[in-house]
Symmetry: D2
């Protein structure tokens, strides 16, 4: 993918407190593809000892949103949907892999999978984004 777009995405994360607090790290990215992770830490754990559903969703939304942004435009989330399969426990990181399902002029839809250190599937989701007219 375009290096300029890549650097803009990295810069957006570096300058954003929410994503910094989550500890967001990039593992891989390409046009229509995004692979990110966050470390499991006390600040994102629920009273049951597993990662909070909202933190997992945040990871999914961020991964999917940047996936949709790899085409060069800002996007805004239109819908988000997450299915919880297994609790995120006993894992150092939670990983999010996002792939474009459909790239339209107006709507971009993206699927996500969240996995543990061992590759166990924890959550699956689907997001749709409105493609804004503003370039990255």
């Amino acid at each position: 993918m375009n290096n300029k777009i890549k650097n803009i995405i990295l810069g957006l994360v570096a300058g954003n407190k929410y994503m910094q607090d989550l500890g967001l790290e990039f593992l891989d990215m390409d046009e229509g593809y995004m692979y990110v992770r966050i470390p499991v830490h006390e600040g994102i754990v629920n009273p049951y000892g597993s990662v909070h559903g909202g933190a997992l969703y945040s990871l999914a939304d961020i991964g999917a949103g940047f996936c949709a942004a790899t085409y060069g435009n800002f996007v805004s989330t239109s819908t988000g949907n997450l299915i919880y399969i297994a609790p995120a426990m006993d894992t150092e990181y939670v990983y999010c892999e996002a792939r474009t399902l459909h790239r339209g002029n107006k709507i971009i839809s993206v699927s996500v999978e969240i996995k543990s250190d061992t590759g166990k599937l924890l959550d699956t989701g689907a997001f749709t984004f409105c493609r804004l007219n503003k370039e990255l």
Copy 2:
């Protein structure tokens, strides 16, 4: 609603860093009903200047989850779904009102509305929870 259950819910929030960092406040609660809010602060804002979709979802998930817990059992989120209607900007707080749609023995489904200070509808969502056998 039962005062014991109410106090347990308040205690769960008081002892949880994720919900404390969000700044979760209770406005009202009853059996099958939950009304909470979080203040908009730098730590939950996205690069566009509005509240991050993941933070809004976290608010919705927490509100819906506690709504489902008012019947006295722990619950785990099975599915979460959020529709983004308007960006959460120019508002001091974001408010979440959650109501039980269906209370089954196994599954409890809850609808949520997220609004601004002026009552503007920002997001709507629906969550389903698995009712755990463990009492609060």
Copy 3:
């Protein structure tokens, strides 16, 4: 709402076998609002004796889609989501009320409620539509 648009919507239903087989009837419509129903008949009942979830979803999708079309453009469904609250049994009709949540230039989102003869809430859902450039 515009009478020309209303007549085009009525004509689309009259000429479509899927909607005719369902028995779709219009009860009320306005800009951003649609109220339709279908009679419960043998052809849409599941092996358990209640209306098939796919038929209920079809009703919801049709109601929501025409709601989104009241602004004068063809639309295509982007995402559909339905929460099943109670089985559709012992009712002569199932009713769908659809309301626009957000009308954007690119995306229109719509909420739906499905009810029985007695007004019992059976299902709630949310749909998003891509607004096509083609006018009705």
Copy 4:
């Protein structure tokens, strides 16, 4: 998978008008897996000439539901979600492959993919089912 369960599933379809009208055919099934298809015919096409979103959802719901039933219990749909990726046009059949994501005692979640004759991905979805206490 158990042959008795397989025959009960085949019998449920044979005796149900809604699934017969859709033209449902089984291609393959196993515990936690279901592969079905329906022929594209005039009765399920929308005014745009592609398969109606409600018919695609019905196919998905049926495939997912029977997938969840392969464990031997009746199930009821709790939530359904479908993302529309490409219109179902120029294909003789639409195919649904459903796989269990999570098999709990109370909730079974299933992912689905709908494809064309050429294997083009048309829709993806996720469903959750309540596992009823009644055996097939």
